[in-house]
């Protein structure tokens, strides 16, 4: 089954659509003219609402995407016309490129360790903020502030200062008797440092969680309290299910973002992926191959390997989501 189809079946109104199709099949040609007219009207409305998106998708996104898929099977240095090389790029990737392998490893560590921590921090803080309203504007803004910083050399300077020898992180850890020295130049601690940078900028998922928490009707908590539920119980049986659609969104998007980590690593390492390749994350490496080394064919092949991997993960998430994600608008 192709990924496209898989996501289709898990897609937006998939369940409803399947129901509709089944009904249509059952009804077959004997489907009443009124129903058919209604269905047509729905289609017109659907595509009508989608007009801007369709123009953007067909006009701006689809073509370049397909072109990059084609480039994945070519040798292309941006200057001469692409030259078809079949699967060469993919073979080189998996058999003859130690940098690629290292890049995959550190990216996986970054994704698998960083994403859960970031989401937990975002959800935890969002719930803390939602707990009382006092000064919440101040706190919300403070917690979001780190996420405001764009990818400029200032971030590199600040972050290096935080994690250098005798910097604030080193000093606070030493206070607790943990003597790690500076993180910036320590090959073993660079990936953790990058993870902490990502966690520090947890503002986006936090705000989305907050918006989701605001959508939960207060009556549900009151009802749970009437039933004698404690805070843990309320969290498990009201917050989590009611927030599940937002958790699902954040989980999926943060995973995708983490796999595509680029700006912070690029800035911190000045585009080199150093020290010792420890910030040479997947997309950083892809970018270097494409634009610095002018191996756009290879870079495109790398991009599509990533697409396939992330698509499989997304597919699994969508599949399992039917079991744990609850939509108030679709639960009937």
């Amino acid at each position: 089954m192709t990924t496209t189809q898989s996501i289709v079946t898990a897609g937006a109104d998939a369940k409803a659509m399947r129901r509709e199709l089944r009904r249509a099949e059952r009804g077959g040609p004997s489907m009443s003219p009124g129903r058919r007219r209604a269905a047509r009207r729905e289609s017109v409305a659907g595509y009508g609402f989608l007009v801007p998106w369709l123009i953007g998708f067909l006009g701006l996104t689809l073509g370049p995407m397909l072109y990059s898929l084609y480039l994945a099977f070519t040798k292309y240095n941006l200057f001469k016309d692409p030259e078809w090389v079949g699967f060469d790029n993919f073979v080189r990737m998996f058999t003859d490129d130690p940098q690629f392998m290292q890049s995959v490893q550190i990216t996986l560590v970054y994704v698998l360790v960083g994403t859960p921590i970031k989401l937990a921090a975002a959800l935890g803080i969002a719930m803390l903020l939602n707990y009382r309203n006092k000064g919440s504007g101040f706190f919300r803004s403070s917690f979001y502030a780190p996420s405001l910083i764009g990818a400029s050399v200032s971030v590199a300077i600040v972050w290096r200062a935080m994690f250098s020898t005798d910097g604030p992180v080193d000093n606070s850890l030493s206070f607790f008797g943990i003597d790690l020295g500076g993180w910036v130049g320590n090959v073993a601690l660079v990936v953790p440092m990058m993870i902490l940078l990502a966690v520090w900028q947890f503002g986006a998922p936090m705000v989305i969680f907050l918006a989701g928490l605001k959508q939960i009707p207060q009556e549900l908590y009151e009802a749970a309290e009437m039933d004698g539920a404690g805070p843990v119980r309320k969290f498990r049986s009201v917050t989590i299910p009611m927030l599940s659609s937002v958790i699902f969104f954040n989980l999926l998007l943060e995973l995708i973002n983490a796999f595509q980590i680029f700006a912070s690593a690029y800035i911190i390492s000045n585009g080199s992926g150093g020290p010792a390749g420890m910030t040479n994350f997947y997309t950083v490496y892809l970018y270097k191959r494409g634009f610095a080394d002018l191996q756009m064919g290879y870079a495109s092949a790398m991009a599509w390997v990533l697409v396939i991997v992330v698509a499989i993960i997304a597919f699994i998430l969508f599949k399992t989501s039917t079991r744990w994600v609850h939509y108030a608008g679709e639960n009937r």
């Binding site: 989608l50 998106w53 953007g56 917690f143 780190p146 405001l148 892809l286």
Partner: protein, 305 residues
């Protein structure tokens, strides 16, 4: 600080109203909880804000201190960095870069909200042939690292003779090319009980009316969230303007603040820090203003679900 005053005031006020003994104990516990909550949040805030405070102090360091003084306090504090950046860059005043960024960001917010909400409604609420496939395609656009589509897109905009205009930066926003926002709004719409739109349909309302009068008001938190993110992310976008804008007077801030650095000759890190910090202020203000609407979103209007 108000940390202590606020809970006490609440306690007093309520306690005079409700003198009953068990109630009082509960309120006391609530007050204790609030204090713990405050202290915990303040501690977390301090940690989270420290790097930003460091950055603020660093804007008062002369450029030469950057390699030599890693501490928080500048050894020779100076406002020269600000004096320098306020003068602008090579004849272009600083405010011009702010104005450019503001224009692009505001247009992006309008475009994204308009196009993403429409598309999201179609995906979440309308049953039509092909919806599943299109939804999958939309998610698919999130998965491809954007670096490999830069060049084909550049070629297209170049053919359309739109290079060195703001169109390549704004047009895509009006066409919902950022699937992130479409998907975000889809998730929120799917969380709205259908009772209301079904009632409206029975009354003969079409999709347009349901969208505008029922769905839009109910997804206000999602719209505010999208507006905030679009504004901030556009404000910070570097690659788009780098590729599409040639004229220095038309540069937005992220490009402008790089202009103080040249690895091949001299770099003014003090000025860079100062501009970076100034560039933060408008988006911080934007966030502070708009985050309030997150609070009085749906929750206060009440969901009869």
């Amino acid at each position: 600080m108000s940390t202590i005053e606020v809970p006490r005031a609440e306690f007093l006020e309520i306690s005079t109203d409700q003198p009953a003994q068990p109630r009082r104990r509960r309120i006391k516990r609530k007050t204790v909880n609030t204090v713990i909550w405050m202290v915990a949040l303040l501690a977390l805030t301090a940690i989270v804000l420290y790097p930003l405070v460091w950055m603020l102090f660093a804007t008062f360091k002369p450029s030469s201190e950057f390699g030599q003084n890693p501490g928080l306090m500048p050894e020779n504090p100076t406002v020269d960095n600000y004096v320098k950046v306020v003068e602008g860059i090579a004849g272009t005043p600083l405010w011009r870069f702010f104005a450019n960024s503001l224009f692009i960001a505001v247009m992006a917010v309008i475009g994204t909200l308009f196009s993403s909400a429409l598309a999201a409604y179609a995906f979440a609420r309308i049953k039509f042939r092909g919806v599943g496939l299109l939804f999958a395609a939309m998610i698919g656009t999130l998965l491809l690292p954007f670096h490999v589509i830069i060049i084909p897109q550049y070629i297209m905009f170049n053919k359309l003779e739109l290079v060195d205009t703001y169109w390549p930066l704004i047009l895509p926003k009006f066409l919902a090319t950022e699937a992130f926002f479409v998907f975000l709004i889809v998730q929120f719409i799917r969380n709205i009980p259908r009772d209301m739109d079904e009632a409206a349909r029975i009354d003969g309302a079409g999709h347009l009316r349901i969208f505008f009068s029922i769905i839009l008001p109910l997804i206000k938190p999602a719209l505010i969230t999208s507006a905030i993110f679009t504004f901030i992310w556009t404000w910070n976008d570097f690659l788009g303007p780098l590729l599409y804008i040639n004229t220095p007077e038309e540069y937005p801030l992220p490009i402008a603040l790089k202009l103080y650095n040249d690895q091949t000759s001299t770099s003014d890190y003090g000025a860079t820090m100062a501009v970076s910090f100034l560039a933060l202020l408008p988006i911080l203000i934007f966030f502070i203003v708009f985050q309030r609407f997150l609070v009085d979103g749906v929750a206060t209007q009440g969901l009869k679900g």
